[in-house]
Amino acid sequence: MKRLIMILAMLASPAMAQDFSEGSEAKTWNLYGESPARFEAKVVDILCEMTGDCAADCGGGTRQLGLLRKADAVLVFPNKNAQAAFTGAALELAPFCGKEVEVDGLLITDADLGAMNVYLVQKIRTLGDAEWTAANRWTKEWAKANPEAKGKGPWFRRDPRIKAQIAAHGYTGTGAEAEKPFIQDWFE
């Protein structure tokens, strides 16, 4: 029944009937439910938008940011930036807080899972600007913030907070000792 309701909701939403693929140069990620989408929007702090609990500069990348789409006033939620590195979009959008922008990327729609107006942002530019900014700064910003974690391998293998979590609770969260037999068995 929940799926039926979600599908009805999607059909009833005029926003979903719109196609934002015109002019998009978004690269495919070959995801189920992806569709290229290029549109104009205002960058907003979602918590502020919902509750009135606002922060200076939209939190400077610490809060989730949304895209209030100009064409239909739909709030699009960018979950992901352009890097294939387990990285979000807030840091990419933060410099554009409160600005009117144009974005290009992939909308993710999956009624079965409740995914509506979920977005992967690939590039951004302030309205009127000719140059795009690629939404791939996250790992560089992480490196600046974590100079002590410099080394080989991807950021998520070197991040001090993640390493501390794994040291304390293991890779499965069940405890390093408790998961030892599983890991030994898995790699046999």
Binding site: M1, T62, R63, D72, N79, A90, D110, Q165
Partner: protein, 150 residues
């Protein structure tokens, strides 16, 4: 039934595309998940991107600033904007410490354009990691656990 009622309410009121709705106080039990892997299917079906099988990836995504969600027992996902006063929803410590945990949360629900947004005022109970599915699925993604023999 609550979801049906709320969805019908949205349809009737034409709230999709409208301004933010009023918050509703709710209490929900569910798992703190990483929403990108769940919604995008990038690593497979929804059962595989939850629980202990996906715990390391959930840490990576939470620390990486991907939004966390609360996956309720009925399958509804609530995008978490704040937890007990911590509004650092893009990589914050509070949500990182709760990755893959099942919690009972008391807070305010907001709905907009097909998504549910949750401001957790109190984690009533932290049940810990209860979805022990790593034996069934192995680590998701497969490289989440480094090969100790390498």
């Amino acid at each position: 039934m609550r979801i049906i009622a709320m969805s019908l309410c949205l349809l009737v009121s034409g709230a999709f595309g409208a301004q933010a709705s009023e918050g509703e106080r709710i209490q929900i039990k569910g798992e703190i998940i990483d929403t990108w892997c769940y919604y995008s299917g990038v690593m497979g079906g929804p059962e595989a991107v939850t629980g202990s099988a996906h715990h390391t990836c959930a840490l990576w995504c939470s620390a990486g600033g991907i939004p966390v969600g609360l996956l309720a027992e009925d399958g509804t996902v609530y995008m978490v904007l704040k937890i007990e006063g911590d509004a650092n929803s893009a990589g914050g410590d509070t949500q990182l410490n709760l990755a893959s945990h099942e919690i009972t949360a008391d807070g305010m629900l907001y709905q907009r354009d097909g998504l549910n947004y949750l401001v957790v005022e109190k984690v009533v109970t932290d049940h810990g990691i209860t979805n022990l599915n790593h034996e069934d699925y192995g680590p998701i993604p497969g490289f989440a656990i480094p090969d100790p023999t390498q």
